[in-house]
Amino acid sequence: MSDYRIQGETGEWEVVIGLEVHAQISTNAKLFSGASTEFGAEPNTQVSLVDAAMPGMLPVPNRECVRQAVRTGMALGANINKYSRFDRKNYFYADLPQGYQISQLYHPIVGEGQITVSLDDKDPDAPTKSIGVERIHIEQDAGKLMHDQHPTMSYVDLNRSGVALMEIVSKPDMASPAEAGAYVRKLRAILRYVGSCDGNMEQGSMRADVNVSVRKPGYELGTRTETKNVNSVRFVQAVIEQEAKRQVELIEGGGTVVQETRLYDPDRNETRSMRSKEDAHDYRYFPDPDLLPLELDDDFLAECRASLPELPDAKQARYESVLGLTPYNAATLIADADTARWFEALMAEGARIQGKDEKDVATASANWLLGELYGALNRLGLSLADSPVSPERGAELIALVADGTISGSIAKQVFEIMLETGDPAAKVVADKGLKQTSDTGAIEAVVAKVLADNADKVAQYKDGKEALFGFFVGQTMKAMQGKANPQVINEILKAKLA
């Protein structure tokens, strides 16, 4: 249970949250037409006759959209409805060419499922909570009105008209902004793993309608409000905070919450009423007579299931139990599908060139990725996708350390050069002469000189000041520009000082 509470004048209030997430399905074509769905194209350049609702045009379902919705449902452990149907939601607006949106009210394609979220992402041992998913249905997006093109008129861009969305409706199972944030992040991670949505909230390909109500602990559910089209995790959390606070103040001030649609204004961090239930449209839903019911056969469902990748929860468990990663490393690596893919490529290549099992290179790969690489990318302001060093090049670098060709500290220098030049590690090592030496004779000579130059310290060491051992190692390493094998130095020093 969440202990999130609003402190009102009359005591504590609980918050009840449900989310309807609209996720744009990653396909090249729209839900019912062949038009492209690419983001950011010139207005009205990705519009087919169907999207513009020309007379006599008919929708034909895009099989790939159906497939992605089914795969998403499977990834959420949800019931897949082998029979579903499209309904028309009728209303007039200039961004809605048909005068109706094709959606699924009565028979959605996906039924109940759930998402397990960690209640504290920073703490691998934090408790988890299962949040119910009520349903997923497929529907068309609308176009976009542009109000800044003409002093007295609005323009319409139909590029988004007809783009396929999944509406993923949660149960009212969340009780704090943090839980809602964790739900959205986890849902986004799963969508990206499945490949059914790119999850780019800033481009509008994922957005949430946030339903919030408040109640005294143990009491009946309060009246909810719905804040539409919230387009970041941070804003989702802010909406819940603001809306819960507003509702508590309203009720405690003697008012009542009305069921209404609200909009969030990020600049002022407040929600505003858009329309009340009394003004709500009568959408006159009815089955779309242009479309037959969707009936999914077993072969189709089997293909959808077989095509699912390993999902975040399963991957984390495997990273810990099979690869022996720490829970923290495992959780960090799986949080995002791209990071996990990068890591697995790095590890696979490492295992290949070192001739070892993946589990034997996993920890070194994870440490290097989350330490060296992430540090460098942060510094350079780059994302993993833009990393100047590929998984293959990274694996080669790690292998050079593992086989003793270079030391860990030389590896850091080599990596810096690789970031700049893009050269393979082996080339950098050769060009710069950074190869570590294990040549006993050469090291012995240097050690002898170090000991001779520091006879006073040798005497102190022999009198029991053993901490000076590190000093001799350091001096030797320094004299050899870091290229000596530290283990060999240790052995020789021990022998000489004995």
Partner: protein, 494 residues
């Protein structure tokens, strides 16, 4: 030489193929007939140049001994519900006046590919809503038929495909496309003494056809003979991936298999169609039809379609419900009429555009449809009507255990005078009473001329068949045609 405009589709196709005349001569003949028939108001747009171009293409193919196509050299009229590339397509409405599509409907494209040419776009009831052609924005079509009382009362050509029925019966087109939602091919065919078949729902693509009621709309041919209908239907039908309700079945060669021999066929006579107060002349022609089919070798059996009386009310809920949604796209935003009063906002523009752009019957049906889909009424009307629809389909399904075809009148009366029913929508809707059940069940149904009534006006008989069994429907139509000896034609007064 006979007047080329008296020829049937079959005769034109064969005559062009064997060189008796050129396709161009045929097109010129019909172009002239169209131009001379303005008083009938059958066409909204005339396209003589299109008819000539198609004819020349066919003649050129013949010169090179290439195949001429199923409709090679046959000029036709195109109901204005079909979108035709580069030619105004209005559904006989003001709201689409001036709308010129950049695309060609699947059915019309198939006809052009089969060698047909276009004489023009045919007038019709606005958005296919009407049974008399009086709802057209472009003025009503007048039937070429006159009562034999010596008067000159203008008669309704039927609807909604009234331009089609008039053009074919007046011999200004050998054939025309029609569309049938609740009888719009069959009733006008019956009123004008021609043949028309509505195939199984899904046989003809709806892509590019302005939608009235999507679950019912179906295109079909209207022509003077059963064989002509068979030929033209073959050219129009076929699976279309652009229409999700299109049937993926092969198109039979109906003409080739056509036979008036009905040995072994059982013809069902639904007792519920024998309605109180039925016009005795309609009843008489129905009796004659039974006798002809029996003579052709068929067995006549009584059947029951118990939910028939609920068909018309259910139809007048489902069709307007779908129409109210289908017609929402005519909003003044992207094409067609836009009425933007000074200082108006979006809602004002919608209201002004739709008030000016739709005629009274279209508005009536949009309001009925909006009402029956509204919260609180949906279950009582729409859901209930869908249940009735299921029961009606089940009635037919049961009947097919006892018979192969059903024979019934097409309409409850012969053509009525223009204006006689236009103030009484219910009386107008009752015209569809025999046609609507087959539409709700998606079944193939055809009207063929049975004879003239006492006023000298044509009466039609309707044959309803099993799903996808257009062949049997056409065969029975042929058997009636062979025995009815219908050779009457309207006297030329225009």
């Amino acid at each position: 030489m006979t007047d080329l405009t008296d020829l049937t589709v079959t005769e034109i196709r064969d005559g062009v193929a064997d060189g008796s005349f050129s396709a161009r001569e045929v097109a010129e003949g019909f172009n002239a007939a169209v131009a001379a028939a303005k008083p009938l108001n059958a066409f909204i747009v005339e396209t003589p140049e299109k008819a000539l171009a198609a004819a020349d293409a066919v003649d050129a193919k013949r010169a090179k001994s290439e195949p001429l196509g199923l409709m090679g050299g046959v000029p036709i009229g195109m109901k204005d519900l079909f979108c035709t590339e580069g030619v105004q397509s209005t559904a006989a409405s003001h709201i689409l006046e001036g709308f010129v599509p950049q695309y060609e409907s699947t059915v019309s494209a198939k006809l052009w590919a089969a060698g047909a040419g276009m004489l023009g776009k045919l007038n019709m009831d606005q958005f296919a809503m009407g049974s008399s052609n009086e709802t057209s924005f472009f003025g009503n079509v007048i039937s070429p038929w006159r009562r034999n009382d010596g008067g000159n009362t203008d008669l309704a050509p039927g609807g909604s495909s009234g331009g089609s029925s008039t053009a074919v019966s007046a011999r200004i087109a050998p054939a025309a496309t029609g569309t049938d939602t609740g009888g719009s091919i069959r009733q006008p065919a019956a009123f004008t003494g021609i043949c028309g078949i509505k195939p199984t729902y899904g046989r003809c693509s709806r892509w590019g056809v302005v939608a009235f009621a999507s679950s019912l709309d179906q295109a079909g041919p209207m022509a003077r003979t059963v064989q002509d209908c068979a030929i033209m239907l073959e050219a129009m039908a076929g699976f279309d991936p652009k229409d999700a309700t299109s049937l993926d079945n092969p198109v039979p060669h109906w003409e080739g298999a056509l036979s008036g021999d009905l040995k072994g066929k059982r013809i069902g006579i639904p007792r519920e169609y024998r309605m109180e107060g039925i016009d005795p002349e309609i009843d008489k022609s129905w009796e004659a039809g039974k006798a002809w089919l029996r003579d052709a070798g068929a067995e006549i059996v009584d059947i029951s379609l118990p939910h028939t009386k609920y068909a018309l009310p259910a139809y007048y809920i489902i069709a307007p419900a779908e129409a109210s949604s289908n017609l929402a796209r005519y909003d003044g935003v992207r094409y067609g009429l836009r009425d933007l009063p000074e200082g108006a906002g979006l809602q004002d523009m919608y209201a002004a555009t739709r008030a000016a752009g739709f005629g009274p019957e279209v508005k009536r049906r949009i309001m009925i449809g909006t009402y029956v889909l509204s919260a609180g009424f949906y279950d009582a009307y729409y859901t209930q009507a869908q249940k009735v629809r299921t029961l009606i389909a089940r009635d037919f399904g049961r009947a097919w255990g006892e018979c192969d075809l059903i024979l019934a009148p097409t309409a409850p009366s012969a053509a009525f005078g223009l204006g006689e029913k236009s103030d009484d929508p219910i009386a107008m809707y009752l015209n569809d009473v025999f046609a609507v059940p087959a539409s709700l069940a998606g079944l193939p149904a055809m009207s063929v001329p049975a004879g003239l009534n006492g006023q000298g006006l044509p009466l039609g008989l309707q044959i309803i068949g099993k799903p996808l069994d257009e062949q049997s429907v056409l065969d029975a139509g042929l058997a009636i045609e062979q025995r009815a000896g219908f050779e009457a034609r309207p006297g030329k007064w225009w």
